[in-house]
Symmetry: C2
Subunit: 329 residues, 2 copies
């Protein structure tokens, strides 16, 4: 980041003009832990946020090795051909530990990362899933303001990140491997049930038969799942991202999903529920941070904690005395 930061106006104009440098800088601000960066980031967000952006937000997940990067590359290039502007973001709370963020290595999406029509951003670092996910969600608001209309949120497919991704997307897409059942794929049943579109990737060469078997297996499985509140019936497809086969059918399913859920009103309603969730999440997280940074709270905690440890003061009573600083009777 430059020493002298652009102004709110410069950011707003730059993002609206799809200036990639300013967009990238604005996302860096969103991701920053520094207070002055956050103030600037929120001022920018407040001005550029589109009330009801006409975009499609897709969560893409699957076990490691399923070919997520290749699939996103293929889908992204297909979208560009269709006149769309895809943006690829990620949620991976492990990236700050492992150092190896998903999407960190853009060379895995060679063509997409070279295209002026697409935007790719690795997962932000953070010490909690909530923090990482909040940053990704705000980055999404910025890329939508810059005119990107199809947002692909990649997750690693092994943990809680999928739930965070679902809470900021319209459609949940699960990539699967040919042949193997849920357990072999390292996918929890709960994740499979979340999927709106299930895609068996690597349906190429010798694996065609296995892919069709997996398709049959998952078709049967989805029939047994409880009905979705969206009213949408999950579709199970096969594709080969490597050979660029079956990508059109995936996109067709995504567009059908959008059309159907917009017609029933679910699409809009779901985004409202999501906004409500993120409001609550932002409040809880901010409440926690502000409270423990409050000088009087810190002082009182430092004074009472030894009393609690020594057993001279009950934890409940100490908590009450500390809370009275902010909530006097």
């Amino acid at each position: 980041m430059r020493r002298s930061l652009p102004s709110v106006e410069q950011f707003v104009q730059g993002i609206r003009a799809a200036d990639r440098v300013l967009l990238g800088q604005a996302i860096t601000l969103v991701e920053s832990a520094r207070a002055e960066h956050q103030v600037l980031a929120q001022a920018v967000l407040a001005q550029v946020a589109t009330p009801t952006p006409n975009t499609l937000r897709i969560a893409i997940t699957g076990a490691p090795g399923v070919g997520k990067s290749t699939f996103i590359e293929a889908l992204g290039m297909y979208l560009i051909e269709r006149g769309k502007r895809p943006a690829v973001l990620a949620i991976d709370p492990s990236s700050s530990i492992s150092g190896g963020s998903i999407l960190g290595d853009k060379t895995r999406m060679e063509h997409l990362s070279a295209s002026e029509k697409a935007f790719i951003r690795p997962s932000p670092a953070g010490d909690s899933l909530g923090g990482v996910a909040r940053k990704t969600r705000e980055a999404m608001v910025l890329v939508e303001a810059a005119g990107f209309d199809t947002i692909l949120i990649e997750t690693v497919g092994v943990g809680q990140s999928e739930i965070a991704a679902q809470r900021m997307t319209d459609l949940f897409l699960l990539l699967l491997m040919p042949g193997a059942g849920d357990e072999l794929q390292g996918i929890k049943r709960g994740i499979v049930e979340m999927a709106d579109v299930l895609v068996v990737n690597k349906s190429d060469g010798d694996r065609n038969t296995l892919a069709q078997q997996a398709q049959g297996h998952y078709r049967n499985a989805t029939h047994l799942f409880p009905a979705k509140s969206s009213g949408w019936t999950p579709r199970v497809l096969t594709c080969s991202a490597l050979e660029n086969k079956g990508i059109a059918a995936v996109w067709e399913a995504a567009e059908a999903f959008k059309m159907e859920t917009e017609a029933t009103g679910f699409f809009t309603k779901n985004r409202q529920i999501q906004a409500q969730y993120w409001l609550k999440e932002s409040i809880e997280s901010g409440l926690h941070t502000h409270f423990y940074q409050h000088p009087q709270v810190r002082a009182k905690l430092a004074e009472l904690e030894p009393e609690v440890l020594a057993g001279r003061l009950s934890p409940t009573l100490a908590a009450q005395q500390i809370l009275q600083i902010l909530f006097p009777k």
Copy 2:
């Protein structure tokens, strides 16, 4: 509860005199959600809490059907014979939903519940595990103040309650069934690893051989577990609570645990860490409650939430405006 409540002084004197009626009423106050009850309960707690009670707190868990009530009855009666005063409390967050609290039916502990030397209290109701556990912990402080020296905290053995129980006890005792492995017992491996004393119950009649097999299985398993921070090596025993066999050896293990961990200083250190945990838990829970009850917060939330839902205001910015009420710049 009576219309006119006893005073703080009456409660304090009554509890110190081991008055069972006043002790029971004080616990009811601790369990009450009403603000005036809480004020009174905390005043009583503050006065009666013993800084470093010379008690032994034991978590007792096991899958349904393992014979927890029979075991607690047998252990409790054994303790009374040895001049101890046992108190039995429980953590069961499901009790408010199912209506059927563990320990709710005291007839399952016929002799123990009839003894003047023992005190039995069913699980408090509550809408969260944190709330239920906090109430059980405060009830424990009260029964210790009334002179009960061996506290048995029963949990159902199927969920997160075990972790809450571990956070308020010195020793973790796991009851097991003869023969069956962890999975058949419905016990998670993590729970097995938490145990300081593992007891295969129902080692009677035809089941003796199966019980010894289970003992061997769990002895092998405990050797593979990571070393405990207490330095204690878990003991695996068999018993028949029904035939009152093997109870003395269980108690011997518990006393050996106390002696050994007191000698190393772990016993005291662990209780301090627990107090620190409950301080934090009480703060977080109180912070949440007070915040959402704050009149200005409620008004601002009601004003801004529709803006967020309509997409005219970002969740983050709305959260900032709400938090500014309590944390002005």
